[in-house]
Amino acid sequence: MLVSTFYLLYLGISIGVTIWVARTLSRNGRVFLVNGFGAEDVADSVNHMLVVGFYLVNIGYVALALKNGSRPVDLVSGIEFLSYKVGIVLVVLGAMHLFNVFVISRWGRVMTRAGHA
């Protein structure tokens, strides 16, 4: 029962944070994409594909990491388990987010340079 509770808490927190980060990235990233590409349909398509990739990688990692490490046996080890696992998920989310921001800003720079050269 204790193990299942911590597993469910881990899944809930991780997937919740993933959805929140993905929505934030897509909402704010769209502005830069529209600015870079000029065409809204292209910007929306690219935005959607980036979000699909983001969801797949992060939810996949959340599921993959479930079996790694030791199982919680009491409340203290459960909190340690939760903290460690959620921490790793946040680092992976941050890395993916950084990658997407880097890619979007690079595209914007390239297209702006091409437009004003």
Partner: protein, 182 residues
């Protein structure tokens, strides 16, 4: 179709298949029911892994294709025939690799069926996510390169026209008049 109407439709299909597949399996091969508990559990986990992996691959391929089409169409100068062909073949390759990876990543021996299932399905999702991101970055980079090239050619053409215009304005050509007045 509205999003609210799409979700119950998808749910109905998932529920239908979740019922149809086990019933069909038992109907075709009733000896499944006589398998020992551990083997039945392994078979169930393997079937669930295949169902989720195949579903995720086909769903992401279906989500990828129209969006990739828009980006490629823009790169090809709104040539929808080429864009269709390119996005179709890219998505097909993606789906084939995704299905192959799903088939290879079947769970082996395990203690806890749900944890084992979560691990193998997670691996498939990470693979699909990396493939989607790589395809997106690659196709947008190529689209940007084409767009840059198009703009350079456009600018060069405008410059050339302007130069010819300048030359004509300062020194009219010998044959500027109609042939009757040469």
């Amino acid at each position: 179709m509205k999003r609210a109407a799409v979700i119950p439709d998808i749910l109905a299909r998932v529920v239908a298949w979740t019922v149809v597949v086990p019933v069909a399996l038992v109907a075709v091969a009733p000896q499944w029911l006589e398998l020992p508990g551990a083997e039945l559990e392994r078979a169930g986990v393997a079937l669930l892994h295949l169902a989720i992996g195949i579903g995720a691959t086909l769903w992401s391929a279906a989500a990828l294709r129209p969006r990739l089409g828009v980006v490629i169409e823009d790169a090809f100068g709104r040539r929808s025939d080429r864009a269709n062909a390119a996005s179709g073949s890219t998505t097909m390759t993606y789906a084939l690799f995704g299905l192959a990876f799903t088939a290879f990543a079947l769970p082996g021996a395990f203690d806890d069926p749900l944890v084992a299932l979560s691990g193998t399905v997670g691996g498939v999702l990470v693979f699909l996510g990396i493939a989607t991101t790589v395809i997106t970055v690659r196709s947008v980079s190529r689209r940007n390169a084409r767009e840059r090239y198009r703009r350079v050619v456009e600018r060069a053409r405008a410059d050339a026209q302007q130069s010819v215009g300048d030359v004509l304005a300062t020194a009219p050509p010998r044959y500027a008049a109609p042939p009757s007045r040469w």
